[in-house]
Amino acid sequence: MTFAVLATNDCEAGAPALFVTTITMSSTNFDVEYVAELARIKLTPVEIKTFQSQLGHVLEHVEKLNAVDVSQVEPMAHSFQIYNVFREDKPRKGLDREIALSNAPRQAQGLFIVTKVVE
């Protein structure tokens, strides 16, 4: 269950050296502030502190899974083996524009208004 990162070192002359970094479950590498940024959630300093400790405990708990031998096990993606569910390629009626926009916090001229992306 190790994740191997192979990297070549091209800074030095001669044959490139191989570095192998293994990534395993880790509650110590867990940085709430950074992950919350990835998840696009601003957190207050109090939340950062509380979540760091609470989720740290949860991550410590799930590390128990390291003890399970899964070397010969396929991952389960779905409870049933369902493959390629097709339907006839025929247009179906979707929501009318007016209805689709009815819950939008901001809309104009039949469009959703998004906060400015380019500064």
Binding site: F3, S26, F30, A36, K42, H57, H61, M76, F80, P105
Partner: protein
Amino acid sequence: MEITSLTVHETQAILRSKQVSPKELIETLGRRIELVDPSIHGYLSYDLDRAVSEAQNADVRLPLGGVPISIKDVINVKGHPCGCASKILQGYISPYDATVIAKLRAAGAIPFGRVNMDEFAMGSSTENSAFGPSRNPWDTTRAPGGSSGGSAAVVASDEAFAALGSDTGGSIRQPAALCGCVGLKPTYGRVSRFGLVAFASSLDQIGPITKDVMDAALLMNTIAGADPCDSTTLDEPVPDFTANLEKGVKGLKVGLPKEYFIEGLDPEVAKTVRAAVEHLKSLGAEVIEISLPHTEHALSTYYIIAPAEASANLARFDGVRYGFRAKEVTGLLDHYGRTREEGFGPEVKRRIVLGTYVLSSGYYDAYYLRAQKVRTLIRQDFATAFEQVDAIVCPTSPTPAFKLGERTSDPLSMYLADIFTLAANMAGICGISIPCGFLEEEGKQLPVGLQILGQELKESTVLQVAYAYEQSTDWHKMKPRPG
């Protein structure tokens, strides 16, 4: 006897014999809610006038004709609010019916009200609702369980004839157990998830919370079946779920998993469940001790997979197409960050952060992939067990209803409330919780739930065992006196 204390099938009988009209039924229900709900807080909202006008056109000859069914706030009902008990969906009005709602309507039922839940179905007590917790009708200082705690509370306190809930890790069965109701989680893919706001898509299932086993079977007859709008539904024939109810348990083999009688299981709950198993034996079932060796890993596996899927599903709440949007934002990142900060409650944020971490670059194999592999092992445990037995019986919850506030500061202790229900979701099998006794705490009677698990698509077997137990006991007839 109050009309509101009736089951769905009893209600149908008096509607069809014209002892009461659908309109009178709704009005009586409205009065009951007005009387009882201030002490339960099961409903987030309901529109009595709309229900009365729908009742006037109800055809009582239909399978559920004229019967109001209360709906968890996570299922879309056209024209009704659908808020997932979250601020981020405040003011949202569903533009369409979920498939289960379309099926209920076609069967003549009246989708009624929005019942309380943990925000986005994340929790085991309804204490994560942005609008305050529901209360357990047996002791209003205690939680009704969760996340479908509102559904169970309104059914138990006769503020509903039946309700729909959703179950991702036990969210139908655990509150049903804690409130003394019947709660069925169907096989994954048996019931369409179209129109159910997604939490963890590989685990979520909609199911009924009812006053007795017959009602659970009746509701399943209506809501089950393949759906072109949900490609994970199973294209399998839907049986009449009431057909096997009377068959009894004679000759059935029932497995008792030794891993479910562990430290942390309340000794009184253990005693009550063991007595229920003895009772099944006296009815002619053969009880066999079995082993589900990977049980201890279900919780860890769940708390990787469910948050991971939730972090992806909840990315859609961005304050653009619907719901809450933060004011006076300085740019797009600030817009996202603050909308989600102000819109989501703490447990939802915790799970999104946890899920984002386990899926983040480099950690996917270590957490998510490994958890999906352990999930295979959990599923194999059940497959092996079902070669030996027709059904598995165990406690639904390790404890009876706990006090409001008791577990809110320690998420892990709250997560343990689902320790006996999670594995069924991981494996995709079906399960039911039925009342199997009471125990007394602080002078209050608290219900205990018996969980009966069945193989994929074997809801009929699970209902058969449940019905045999229920009809030879009186636990389901006990009523709390809330308020």
